[in-house]
Subunit: 190 residues, 2 copies
Amino acid sequence: MKLLEQRILSDGKVKPGGILKVDGFLNHQIDPSLLYEMALELKRLYAGEEINKILTIEASGIAMASLVGYVFGCPLVFAKKSKSRNISDDVYSVEVESFTHGNTNTVVVSREYLKAGDRILIIDDFLATGAALVGLKTLAEQAGATVVGAGIAIEKAFQGGGDLLRSQGLRIESLARIASMGDDGSLCFC
Amino acid sequence: MKLLEQRILSDGKVKPGGILKVDGFLNHQIDPSLLYEMALELKRLYAGEEINKILTIEASGIAMASLVGYVFGCPLVFAKKSKSRNISDDVYSVEVESFTHGNTNTVVVSREYLKAGDRILIIDDFLATGAALVGLKTLAEQAGATVVGAGIAIEKAFQGGGDLLRSQGLRIESLARIASMGDDGSLCFC
């Protein structure tokens, strides 16, 4: 999606170690008009697919999922990072490793809000190793729901998570796919 | 706002100890079409006021702030709960006590995204003691920004935080104000 690629080039910052900072418009300060255009593009890409629920993970997926939910006309559910190791029977839970923070979180969704029969679009701001996406897919499967696909803002294609999951049959639509980033601050799209 | 009050009556659950669960449409599963109507109502209430930025706090304020930002046509910034006690010079920071979780968090905003001259609308899903609202106001003031007012989904008026802050001159528009909740599950609006 050209609009997002241009915004990454103008406002994103490439940091050493494969880090892309998009704090200025995607995950700290957020531009809702950009998110709205991204949601419209996902609506176009998933036209003809029956989707009744958006699933994302706190915190930075929530903004994009909110606009996607608005455009798709369906509710969103966000998986919460659990504070306690004692997981109640009322939730589905899964362990998710964070590439950014270098730790592992237990994330949970109330059983009340994921059901067999749900047809789910997973939304997240980043796809790198695919850990968060696999976690969300696992939560949906625990509920017996169908994952129709995923909608990602920025895929770091060079980290391989997206292609691995595609080869396993998951549909993933990434609005910007990054082929490479250099320590000199350079960035190439696929 | 009648639409929100009706939704609280139909889908909210009053729990002992002054807890109102609105997990089904506001802060776990979220209804974006309701948030959109709430954003339009805030736009009407703040008509004529110059506002260039929305400020909220993770995680459950982000969804509402995203739709408010979309309707107001301005960016949102969300204050992040800091994982470390070592706060860098790049951020504004404040301590916020959580009524729901019974703990205290350090929340931070990058200095890059709050500026003197900003005219800010603070958004949050709940107002009870006012701790989160005071924290967000403090962050804005650290930056020299002006807080035009606050837009709240649900105010627990019986906890007094809202009226205390109003008496200090802060404009607060709450879309549903709860006068009382009983241990029998009853609930009255102001």
